[in-house]
């Protein structure tokens, strides 16, 4: 049997699906349409709600392969890998895409080894090569300094992970229909060598820069930790959150959850303000999909000015306080 069809891997949280499950459909739909093949979403979990499954169809899935059981409530790589490998061997998809989350980044390599598939991590772009119909996978490499395009000429499936929030969820279409294929769990696939013991919420700072509409990020140009105050003020007046470049996190000026970029988080806000950030490719990889990018930097040659929609060349210590002042006036009006 020929390998055919595009799969995306949904992620569950209890009976719900994580948003990334719908983002992956955006990626998958484009590839499936180019190839003229069905798009399927794989759901492994326990008691996933009917509404969630329906939403996968409304947002682009033609088929859902659903494997549910009490033992699958929590992600355990051994069992999930046995199941996904079995599904791949049975239904032979040509492409499998998952999120570059702690789950996807654990499960995908585990499975790719078993089925001898090519896997490319953290792709920023996925496309189909004309003529050959091979998946072209683009990812930043060497610390984000270059973009490498990778393909898997012979082995199938072609597997890839993409960053959460690097695309928007696929649009909801009330009229879409699809099919749910329920697959009963073959209990020999359950691996009992690992037990899920529990979960505790992190005492990490409550900052979710990925969910914010506005992100104001500071870079090396701030010169010292205390000056992040300026960024915080600006973020507050714009109802946004504080982001940061890798340099500032490495220097200990701000904590890691704020880091935007290849080695931090990918954000797609409506407004991204980069202050004192030169715009290394490693940073751009994390924010280039923002709707509007604003740059403030003293160096007119800074890379960030090439990617911004609006840039101010000048001293951020003069410019940001003035913006804050003016925003306060706007607020009071």
């Amino acid at each position: 049997m020929e390998f055919s069809g595009v799969w995306t891997l949904a992620e569950t949280r209890g009976s719900e699906l994580k948003q990334v499950s719908f983002e992956l459909l955006t990626r998958g739909r484009k590839l499936a349409d180019k190839l003229g093949v069905p798009l399927s979403s794989i759901v492994i979990g326990n008691r996933v709600s009917g509404e969630s499954l329906d939403e996968l169809i409304k947002r682009g899935a033609d088929r859902i392969y659903l494997v549910q059981s009490e033992e699958l409530e929590h992600f355990l790589v051994e069992t999930y890998s046995n199941i996904l490998s079995r599904l791949i061997e049975t239904y032979k998809p040509e492409i499998v895409i998952a999120a570059a989350t702690t789950t996807g980044r654990t499960l995908m390599p585990h499975v790719s080894m078993k089925v001898h598939a090519g896997l490319t991590a953290d792709c920023t772009d996925l496309d189909i090569e004309e003529g050959t119909n091979i998946l072209l996978q683009t990812r930043p490499a060497i610390g984000g300094n270059i973009l490498a395009t990778i393909k898997t000429p012979q082995h199938r499936p072609q597997m890839a992970t993409v960053r959460p929030r690097s695309t928007r969820p696929a649009p909801y279409d009330q009229d879409r229909t699809g099919e749910i294929i329920k697959i009963s769990l073959d209990r020999t696939l359950i691996d009992d060598r690992v037990t899920w013991m529990g979960f505790r919420k992190g005492d990490m700072e409550e900052v979710d820069i990925q969910a914010a509409d506005v992100v104001v990020s500071g870079g090396k140009g701030l010169k010292k930790a205390e000056n992040f105050k300026l960024i915080e003020n600006l973020a507050a007046s714009l109802n946004g959150v504080v982001g940061a470049s890798r340099d500032t996190v490495d220097r200990g000026w701000i904590s890691y959850p704020h880091q935007v970029g290849l080695s931090g988080k990918t954000v797609t806000p409506r407004l991204y303000v980069a202050a004192g950030i030169s715009g290394a490719i490693q940073h751009l990889a994390g924010m280039k999909t923002a709707d509007t990018i604003v740059a403030i930097n003293i160096d007119p040659d800074a890379q960030i000015f090439k990617v911004c929609d609006f840039g101010i060349v000048g001293d951020l210590f003069e410019i940001i306080p003035m913006i804050n002042e003016r925003l306060k006036e706007v607020d009071e009006q």
Partner: protein
């Protein structure tokens, strides 16, 4: 507890310079170092050895010069070094790298725990740790931030996931990949360096490991890099210069007007 720690030698990439014309890294003057994230797996391995006894074997795949990375791990407190090396490994992607490392670990044998860093700073995939566990068919916990319990046949860990920490209990032998939070790497000691100097690194070829040529090196690698480019993302936005108070005020006005027009304020 006998521990195996796979490590990688990587170019010091925090300050990479690129050749804009060819899109390749300028390697001249770039130092080779132990993958910084592997220092955490080495450290936690040594801590476990100090508590529980046993031996640590560090293993790497790479050119003969990767011996230096293994020696550094020995100088921190590891006991044995194994280097998988040979031309036949050139062009290995994460699949055939995981395969070769797994076969070598099988050969070393008598291990209870394999510890990997989260990922290497050059390839940045984080795939080889899970890959080795898959080939060895041993339990796996990734992104481990703490080891909360050890017995003769089990390991309890916390792993850092989105929004918090997950607690897992794994039957040994097992593989964990660790994040920075787990430890603070020690520096090599003078005595450690002396010991490392006289400790011989064991070299293994694909022949020594009886590897299947169709699973080794470029031949065994499903993926191919087909294009490399220095990315250009250009939006051609509006640029304003804020040289003095007046031009700054003008730029800020325009900025606020733009925000307003896009309904951002």
């Amino acid at each position: 507890m006998n521990i195996v720690i796979p490590i990688k030698q990587v170019p010091e990439t925090s300050n990479v310079k690129m050749d804009e014309k060819t899109g390749t890294m300028i390697r001249e003057g770039v130092e080779s170092i132990v993958n910084p994230l592997d220092l955490y797996s080495i450290e936690i391995g040594i801590q476990l050895k100090e508590r529980l006894g046993g031996k640590i074997t560090v293993i790497s795949m790479g050119p003969p010069s990767a011996e230096k990375a293994l020696k550094e791990a020995l100088s921190m407190g590891c006991d044995h070094g194994v280097l998988i090396t040979g031309r036949e490994f050139a062009g290995s992607d994460t699949w055939s790298t995981s395969y070769a490392l797994a076969e070598a670990i099988r050969r070393i044998g008598n291990y209870h725990l394999v510890i990997c860093g989260e990922r290497a700073t050059d390839g940045d995939t984080g795939q080889v740790g899970p890959g080795i566990a898959s080939f060895l068919d041993i339990p796996l916990a990734t992104y481990v931030s703490g080891i909360t319990g050890v017995s003769s046949d089990h390991l309890e860990v916390e792993r850092l996931v989105e929004g918090g920490y997950e607690q897992l209990r794994l039957q040994l032998p097992a593989m964990v990949t660790v994040v920075k939070e787990i430890s603070y790497p020690r520096l090599p000691t003078l005595r450690g360096k002396q010991k490392a100097r006289i400790t011989e690194i064991q070299n293994l070829s694909s022949g020594d490991l009886n590897l299947d040529p169709s699973r080794t090196g470029l031949e065994g690698s499903p993926t191919r890099v087909v294009n490399i480019e220095v990315p250009t993302v250009v939006r051609n936005g509006t640029i304003r210069f804020a040289k003095d108070e007046e031009s700054t005020a003008r730029a800020v006005d325009e900025f606020l007007a733009m925000l307003k027009s896009k309904e951002l304020i």
